[in-house]
């Protein structure tokens, strides 16, 4: 380990900031003994960053660049001594998630000029990378990545195996079907990048203290007030937890825990002595995901590691240590990866081994990194859980987090990475240990549409779980909650898990088709209990007043009305999209997407006035929600309740408490999330089974059946219904997605985002949510769209899709997505008008293949069968603009 350490961090950072040098240089000579600390800690600072790895230094660098100076960075050992020190140093932009791709792209550009900026050698070398495909499916996934890289302006091409061999003469290409070449991918010495960032930050005034251990963060009244260290206390406004694999423990060290769900796994890579004819330092990095390995040139030899199928999680009990010791090499464990390496590069057999490095990496429950502010402690920020891509994300992630701290929100939509997508429920050590064992191999597994995790399941379930399961339910999970995808009819065996992984028409196609048909012609029941449900009530008018300010639609409606509304931020963007029922003058019932449970709670908590007479309660667990969808829903419900349910008596968007079967107090709302006629029943959980049985028995004569979320999705997408988290995010306003009718700019009271929306109304929007009907797409033979496919207008890139589904009614694929208007010359974003949308020829790029698409700004009215209430009809008025 010693030797490696010296090689990777052989650097010149002593020439950096003099104050810092004096403090640390003495420690470099004797790294094992505790040194007296020559510089004492400041008593206070605006920001305290914990962790001197790539993340901590990047945040410090970017904060100081943005003009913040009063920053202290604390590192328990030495700078860049943790996972950062051992990182393989591959900067790769080939990422399937768009925000991760953007972060990696930014990091690459940042590192490229870092040496010039700081004078610290970073070892930056633009080598390019080749990702190999051993199967056609792998090649499809590479093509999808290539499409999104290309529209971002990142050079990238799909190449033949022969071309790959030309780029890297050691590759055995006999089992390859193709490859992807990204010429601008790079190699760096990650420790030195980190030190360079630290050097620049230090020059900008950031104070860096090594050998300083944060014991816990103090939080008062939901705000960070300071940190306790082994060298005393620092008062601060902001704390940034960049503690890497110790972030979880650090989050739990204070009185008020901050849940940061990540878990470390051992990660192995091999270092060799130089090849006889030393490899060129510009030789491209090779990634062979089917062999689960990566190979880069290193000191004339190679560095090769991988993501094995049977990872070894560690530190589950939270064992702490000052610096990551070089853990034991485990050759038996590495064996399969070594086999893969020698299969890929048989010429290396005679190459002499230098070392097998064991370097723990932290992984998260969904393979995406964790950033953002704690939902419970204001000013407590987190950046950790890099899933083995820390060096690729480091620059971009640090930038976004710094923007977040300084501006209140980053410049890009980072919801997929937001800490608030998790709650306490993902924080169990057992859950994390099991889940990361699935996540780490997934790094190399094929990422197909609609993949579900297999571990950490059946945590939150509806009371009907067993009943539905017995009827053939196939499950997926959202925010820990089991939801039905579809029901497999008896005797209808689907492919097993592995074989159902496909980019083409899936095996459940006909099953979901029949569920959709039943929703349209008879009645289906879908268990939607996972949705987040809050109740807001007050003694006076506080509830109404607060909600009027927080929501864009007018909530001062008669009791019993249901309102669809956005919960917008200052810029008019959707923080949440929900349905709110006015239960009484002073109480409201709010339904939001499942994964809003933490985010929406935090948002309301921080925006509602601190008033003991205003009560916010999370009642998600109290109700089972059954959605009755279809034209006969009304018949079923009226038979069960002896109450007239027709549109005259129970119009759309109404809410009433009534009895269903023997059970009283069922909250019935005439809404569906698909645009079909129907009702949602909010049932106190003890009645759930009874009501379900009654509905199924009574429904028999109307042809009732169970349905799942896949049917729901097909129905909502064909009707152009946007879903928050999928289509809508904090950067999308109601104006941009045809929802002006849900905004009451003149409701008489000011509300969050009002100004921004006014401006948009006057000046127009810069992107428009658009529906695309694929024209020349063969459902049986062609690749299916998923989301994230580039949209081309008249041959030019204008945006990406956000969701897609097959419409069984239209017998076509429908994609939803945003269209931008980039100036042909400058690339500047221009206003998107209705004409701009309507006067274009569109194509959707699915893994490199373009399909003609018809753009629509409004749904097919023929798909709506029910009479709609006034505010929904406005939608059609909007279309005529």
């Amino acid at each position: 380990a010693r030797m490696f350490l010296r090689l990777l961090s052989d650097i010149q950072w002593r020439a950096a900031h003099p104050k810092w040098r004096r403090m640390t240089s003495s420690q470099r000579s004797t790294s094992t003994t505790a040194e007296p600390h020559p510089v004492s800690l400041p008593a206070q600072a605006q920001v305290v960053i914990c962790g001197g790895g790539i993340m901590g230094t990047s945040v410090a660098y970017h904060l100081s660049k943005m003009g913040w100076k009063d920053i202290v960075l604390l590192e328990q050992g030495r700078l860049a001594a943790g996972t950062t020190r051992f990182c393989a140093g591959i900067v790769s932009t080939a990422r399937p998630v768009s925000i991760e791709l953007k972060m990696a792209h930014y990091s690459n550009r940042l590192y490229q000029q870092l040496e010039q900026e700081t004078g610290v050698q970073t070892g930056y070398m633009k080598t390019g990378s080749i990702s190999l495909a051993q199967t056609q499916d792998r090649l499809i996934s590479l093509r999808r990545i290539a499409s999104s890289l290309n529209v971002m302006g990142i050079p990238c091409e799909i190449i033949s195996p022969k071309k790959a061999l030309q780029l890297h003469p050691l590759i055995n290409i006999h089992d390859l079907v193709g490859a992807m070449y990204v010429p601008e991918d790079a190699l760096v010495s990650s420790a030195n990048v980190s030190l360079a960032l630290a050097t620049a930050a230090s020059r900008n005034g950031v104070q860096i203290h090594e050998r300083t251990c944060v014991s816990h963060v103090t939080i008062q009244k939901g705000r960070v007030t300071g940190v306790e260290t082994d060298r005393g206390r620092i008062q601060c406004e902001y704390f940034v937890n960049c503690a890497g694999q110790w972030a979880y423990e650090l989050g739990h060290s204070g009185e008020e825990p901050v849940h940061i769900p990540l878990h470390a796994c051992e990660h192995f890579y091999l270092l060799t002595h130089p090849v006889k004819e030393p490899l060129s330092s510009s030789l491209p990095t090779v990634v062979d995901p089917d062999g689960r390995i990566y190979i880069r040139n290193w000191q004339g030899g190679i560095l090769s590691g991988g993501f094995e199928k049977n990872p070894k999680p560690l530190f589950t009990e939270g064992r702490n240590q000052l610096e990551i010791q070089n853990l034991q090499e485990d050759w038996d464990h590495f064996g399969p990866l070594l086999d893969a390496l020698l299969r890929r590069m048989p010429g290396l057999e005679a190459l002499q081994i230098m070392q097998l490095v064991n370097c723990p990496e932290s992984f998260t429950p969904d393979m995406r990194c964790i950033m953002g502010e704690s939902p419970t402690a204001q000013g407590y920020f987190v950046l950790a859980g890099m899933n083995s891509a820390g060096i690729s994300y480091g620059g971009g992630a640090g930038k976004y987090l710094a923007e977040w701290i300084v501006n209140g929100y980053p410049s890009e939509n980072v919801w997929p990475l937001d800490l608030k997508r998790f709650g306490t429920l993902q924080s169990s050590r057992t859950f994390l240990r099991h889940r990361v064992m699935e996540v780490m191999p997934l790094m190399c597994d094929l990422k197909v549409p609609r993949w579900d995790f297999q571990t950490g399941r059946q945590l939150r379930t509806s009371p009907l779980y067993d009943r539905l399961d017995a009827q053939g339910a196939r499950w997926m999970e959202k925010h820990g909650f089991e939801r039905v995808k579809y029901f497999v009819p008896p005797g209808n065996d689907l492919l097993d898990l592995d074989h159902s992984k496909t980019f083409y028409k899936p095996d459940w196609f006909d099953i979901v088709g029949s569920e959709v048909k039943c929703c349209k012609e008879a009645v289906c029941v879908i268990d939607m209990s996972s949705f987040t449900k809050f109740e807001i009530s007050s003694t006076g008018d506080q509830a109404l007043e607060s909600l009027q300010y927080l929501f864009s639609n007018d909530l001062d409606v008669p009791v019993g009305h249901v309102v669809h509304t956005g919960m917008l931020n200052e810029k008019g963007g959707y923080e949440n999209d929900c349905s709110i029922a006015r239960l009484s003058k002073r109480s409201f019932f709010m339904i939001s997407p499942t994964d809003q449970q933490v985010h929406c709670w935090a948002w309301l908590k921080s925006h509602l006035p601190d008033d003991s007479n205003l009560v916010l309660e999370d009642v998600t667990w109290k109700y089972t929600a059954l959605n009755l969808i279809g034209p006969r829903a009304v018949d079923v419900l009226s038979e069960l309740s002896y109450a007239p349910m027709t549109a005259e008596h129970f119009p759309s968007l109404f809410c009433k408490e009534m009895s269903v079967g023997y059970a009283n107090g069922i909250r019935v709302m005439s809404i569906t999330h698909t645009g079909e006629p129907g009702f949602v029943l909010y049932i106190p959980i003890e009645y759930a089974l009874h009501v379900y049985n009654e509905v199924m028995n009574m429904g028999q004569k109307y042809g009732i059946r169970n349905a799942g979320y896949y049917a729901l999705r097909s129905l909502r997408i064909e009707k152009f219904f946007a879903f928050w988290g999928q289509d809508l995010d904090a950067f999308t306003t109601p104006m941009e997605c045809g929802r002006e009718f849900q905004v009451k700019l003149d409701k008489g009271v000011p509300f969050l985002g009002q100004e921004a929306l006014w401006e948009q109304k006057q000046n127009g929007v810069y992107k428009r949510f658009t529906m695309f009907i694929l024209e020349d797409h063969d459902t049986d033979m062609d690749l299916w769209p998923w989301w994230g496919e580039p949209i081309f207008r008249n041959g030019r890139y204008v945006g990406k899709t956000t969701s897609s589904a097959y419409s069984y009614t239209l017998e076509r694929h429908v994609c939803l997505g945003f269209v931008h208007h980039f100036d042909e010359k400058t690339g500047e974003e221009l206003v998107v008008t209705t004409d701009f949308i309507n006067q274009g020829e569109y194509e959707i790029d699915i893994a490199g293949q373009r399909f003609q698409a018809k753009a629509k700004l409004y749904p097919f009215s023929s798909l709506f069968t029910q009479r709609r209430r006034k505010d929904e009809v406005e939608l059609s008025g909007y279309q005529r603009e």
Binding site: L270, T272, Q328, E329, D330, W331, D332, F334, G335, L338, D339, L341, L342, L348, E349, A350, L351, Q352, I353, M354, Q355, L356
Partner: protein, 454 residues
């Protein structure tokens, strides 16, 4: 002609047996966790036997392997009878009296042994009465002899061995009115058997050995590696002390004829054995018994044949050599096996294979490159070999089976080679004996926690 892996497995596992010492209140208070045993025939029928039993009236567990020659009759009789003789030898005076009184008054007997038998390990029903009477005579003598001293295990073992061999000899001389039994006792006496028996009681392990089977202790060193400690001496021509002993017991004039071609009188491999009255009785006695015996015996060339240079019998004894060992926490297991195993495997390999098997693959010594020059290709070869070793571990649920798999199937690299295994197991009966001997193995696993607490 090849056997599939599952055919190989069914052959190897046909005779496997495992016993786990039952736990009380979730605790196993015995120093023995349990044992695995198995045997693989080369002779048809197999001439090896095995026995295992728990002593019920004293503490301790008995385990033994018996290697028969000139037929299996003697080995069979010893496997049925020896443990009773040992158990009786160990019983205190009061218990012997109680048992005798029970027999006398026709009451139910206290059970003496609890056997742990594979379904194929049979007891001969026909002889049970005869055997019982001999045993009863033995304990009656013990009652009469009542020395009042506490029973010494070493002495008990020696006495039991000698007494049983004596009874075998006597029964053959006396004969039995039942012609079947008469023939049986003669076959028992004229065939022979070696015996290697372990008696474990707490930390006291006694090995009584007669012949060339062997007991070996598996010891785990502090660094996790395995070493072997012999707990018995082979009684054969390779053992100088044994050759010396035989020569001491006979006149100098016979010195040259005593051991020829590494065999006793040029005929017998083991220098100690049960039965084999041809090496114990006087020529006159042999002739008288054979002549008055049944025709089958008379027609048998072997029984009629008198060993050459047969001047001062007896040349053979069943008296065992007893070794006592105090178990230590690092003593993880004991292997008792007939010479079929030891002639194919070195004890060090046996210790390693069983040790790694019992502790699981995780304790396989990790590989460290350190300062050595190792290429990627060499490392791959090494890892492949280690994986093969592990996969052979997973196939077996029985340590003895695992050991047999290695004994028969090992290639020059010490890993199981399926092709070789298949060839060895599919040899025709008449050829099998040329390539391998009967193999019988018992692997006893010790309870380090209990042993450490002593």
């Amino acid at each position: 002609f090849y056997l599939t892996p599952s055919q190989v497995n069914s052959i190897l596992k046909a005779n496997e047996y495992s016993f786990k010492v039952p736990e009380f209140d979730g605790k196993n208070v015995s120093s023995v966790l349990g044992f695995d045993s198995n045997q693989l025939p080369a002779n048809a029928p197999i001439e090896d036997r095995r026995s295992a039993a728990t002593c019920l009236q004293t503490r301790g567990m008995l385990l033994g392997v018996f290697d028969g020659h000139a037929g299996c009759a003697c080995a069979q009789a010893v496997s049925e009878r020896l443990f009773y003789y040992i158990a009786v030898s160990l019983l205190p005076h009061e218990t012997l009296l109680e048992i005798e009184n029970a027999v006398e008054s026709g009451r139910a007997l206290l059970p003496i042994l609890q056997w742990h038998k594979h379904p194929n390990d049979y007891f001969s029903k026909e002889a049970s009465k005869l055997y019982f009477n001999s045993l009863r005579t033995y304990w009656q003598e013990l009652i009469d002899l009542n020395s009042g001293e506490t029973t010494d295990v070493r002495e008990a073992l020696i006495n039991a061995f000698k007494r049983l061999d004596n009874d075998i000899s006597l029964e053959a001389q006396v004969g039995d009115p039942n012609s079947f039994l008469n023939y049986l006792v003669l076959r028992v006496a004229f065939s022979g058997a070696t015996a290697c028996v372990a008696h474990v009681d707490g930390v006291d392990l006694h090995i009584a050995n007669t012949g060339d089977s062997r007991a070996m202790l598996g010891v785990q060193e502090e660094d996790g590696s395995w070493s072997a400690v012999n707990l018995s001496y082979d009684h054969n021509a390779q053992n100088e002390h044994e050759v010396e002993r035989v020569k001491m017991e006979h006149p100098k004039s016979e010195e040259k004829s005593l051991v020829k071609q590494d065999r006793l009188l040029g005929l017998l491999m083991p220098f100690r054995a049960f039965g084999d009255v041809k090496f114990k009785w006087s020529i006159e006695l042999q002739k008288r018994v054979v002549e008055s015996g049944p025709d089958q015996l008379n027609d048998n060339e072997y029984t009629k044949f008198i060993p050459p240079n047969y001047h001062t019998p007896p040349y053979l004894t069943a008296e065992p050599e007893v070794i006592h060992h105090k178990l230590r926490p690092q003593d993880k297991f004991l292997v008792l096996a007939t010479d079929g195993l030891w002639e194919t495997m070195h004890r060090q390999d046996v210790a390693r294979i069983v040790g790694e098997y019992l502790t699981g693959v995780h304790h396989q010594q990790p590989i460290a490159v350190g300062g050595y020059k190792v290429t990627l290709g060499q490392m791959r070869g090494l890892l492949t070999e280690r994986r093969a070793r592990i996969s052979s571990v997973f196939e077996d649920q029985n340590a003895a089976t695992h050991l047999i798999r290695h004994a028969v199937g090992n290639n020059e690299f010490g890993t199981v080679d399926h092709e070789r295994l298949s060839k060895m197991l599919s040899l025709p009966e008449e050829l099998a004996r040329m390539y391998r001997d009967d193999i019988t193995i018992i692997v006893v696993q010790f309870n380090s926690h209990v042993i450490g607490a002593y």
